[in-house]
Amino acid sequence: MPKRIKTPISEADARALKAGETIYMDGIVFTGRDEVHIHALEYLEKGKKIPVDFKGAALFHCGPIMKKVEEKWVAVAAGPTTSSRMNSLEPGFIEKFRPGAIIGKGGMSQPTVDAMKEFGCVYLAFTGGAAVLAAKGIKSVEGVEWFELGMPEAIWILNCDNFGPLTVAIDAHGNSLFADVNVKVKENEKKARAKLGLS
């Protein structure tokens, strides 16, 4: 049986996860991508109130399609967005807000891997584009903050049940599946170049 993990995630919980494991998540998950990172860091600097508590949180790089059914929001499609867009913002975000997990796709660069190691946070890869599968793991939408940023950029507060599968792709010990793959890709590149007659 794959491991289940419940939010909020303590530093000990995060550090217990190992790169390569498959897990499923229960509890509250916040969506947040480009604009949420920019705004949260700006608000903190200016001492303005941030509407949710990111400590131990699972932050999902996701801009969902939401639909209002009888005054309640319902997640129609909610797959991950490309995490590398947040590469320059994430180390600062992790340091300042101490989330327990970042959920996204495509992985993140070394400074984020380092911040995750230092502060006890993991990166969980959800299959990109598998948005209906993701929505199935969202039991209800508890609310929305910063809606003025637009549907894709707002903070959606998702109540999740058996959300996944999630692959622990960067753990809190400095291991990254993406970095491992990159080492192999570098070697394979030589073969591919030879095939194309490139020196």
């Binding site: 867009r85 299959t127 599968l133």
Partner: protein
């Protein structure tokens, strides 16, 4: 009866719905084949999630991916067409955003203000041509930004030649890496001018991936590049594996003797494209989605 603007907007709503819910047969087949051929646990699981998601989207009549793109339309009009197809498309996009629903993705490029209906300055973007048929043909690609962001243009020198083209495409796949939701589909536009090369790169994605270029030399290059990219081992979602690229299509145009422009358009696994034909009596057929 004649085709009315409302026939066009009705057809566009239906076209967008079909396009975001279900992949064309060639792409769906390629993904299922990739799933069958992967042996390692991690890539197998990634493709399993994709296959399950494809099935769930069809079953629930739901967009397969939350990123329903910005609407780029290619329109072929009959000679003397009196219908305002452009207005029909705009209305169709506005309605589809609510009715399907689509994610409101279109924003002002600088203020980032989101009008909420996917309509704004020059958006939806429409390319028009005239054809010899009596029907209006509208093709749409609903392409996400994760893959589009990995697209590139190179203004090579003629001396860089074929090797330069190969180098550029291979480097493009390496640079894209895990970001564009691999396994990808690559569109390569060779020649023309800077704008034409990029336009051809995108239009190359309109051809089914199991159909090779009619020019045997270009067909050979398509296969060679595809095989080389699949040797990289980037794999589904960049987590390693055999399948990095599902298909690679090239389109080319003659170019100036002093240039060699090459465009690369990167498409995620969800290679969504759809076509509708609207006949003079207002009836519509959807050739990419009739099965």
């Amino acid at each position: 009866m004649v085709t009315e603007q409302e026939d066009v907007s009705n057809a566009v709503v239906e076209l967008l719905r079909k396009t975001v819910v279900r992949l064309p047969q060639d792409v769906e087949d390629a993904i299922r084949n990739a799933y069958a051929s992967e042996t390692d646990e991690v890539p197998k699981m990634q493709l399993k999630a994709i296959v399950d998601n494809i099935d769930m989207a069809i079953k629930g009549n739901t967009p397969m991916c939350q990123d329903t793109g910005v609407a780029i339309f290619y329109v072929d009009l009959p000679k003397g067409c009196k219908v305002d197809v452009g207005e029909g498309i705009v209305e169709g996009v506005r309605r589809a955003t609510k009715e399907v629903p689509l994610r409101p993705n279109a924003v002002h490029p600088i203020t980032r203000k989101n009008p909420g209906d996917n309509v704004g300055e020059r958006m939806p973007y429409i390319s028009r041509r005239i054809h010899d048929q009596d029907y209006i043909e509208i093709t749409v690609m609903t392409k996400g930004a994760g893959s589009e962001n990995m697209s590139q243009l190179a203004m090579l020198t003629p001396s860089q030649g074929l090797k330069g083209i190969k180098e550029f495409v291979l480097n493009g796949a390496l640079r894209a890496g895990s970001n564009p939701c691999p396994p990808t589909i690559l569109g390569v536009g060779i020649g023309g001018s800077s704008d034409i090369a990029m336009k051809l790169a995108k239009e190359a994605l309109l051809r089914p991936i199991n159909v090779r270029h009619k020019d045997p030399e270009m067909a050979k290059l398509e296969t060679e590049l595809l095989e080389a990219i699949n040797m990289l081992g980037i794999g589904p979602m960049g987590l390693g594996g055999k399948t990095t690229c599902l298909g690679l299509n090239i389109e080319y145009a003659y170019c100036h003797t002093a240039s060699l422009p090459v465009g690369l358009n990167v498409q995620c696994w969800a290679g969504r494209r759809g076509t509708v034909r609207i006949y003079p009596d207002g009836k519509a057929t959807y050739p990419t989605h009739e099965r």
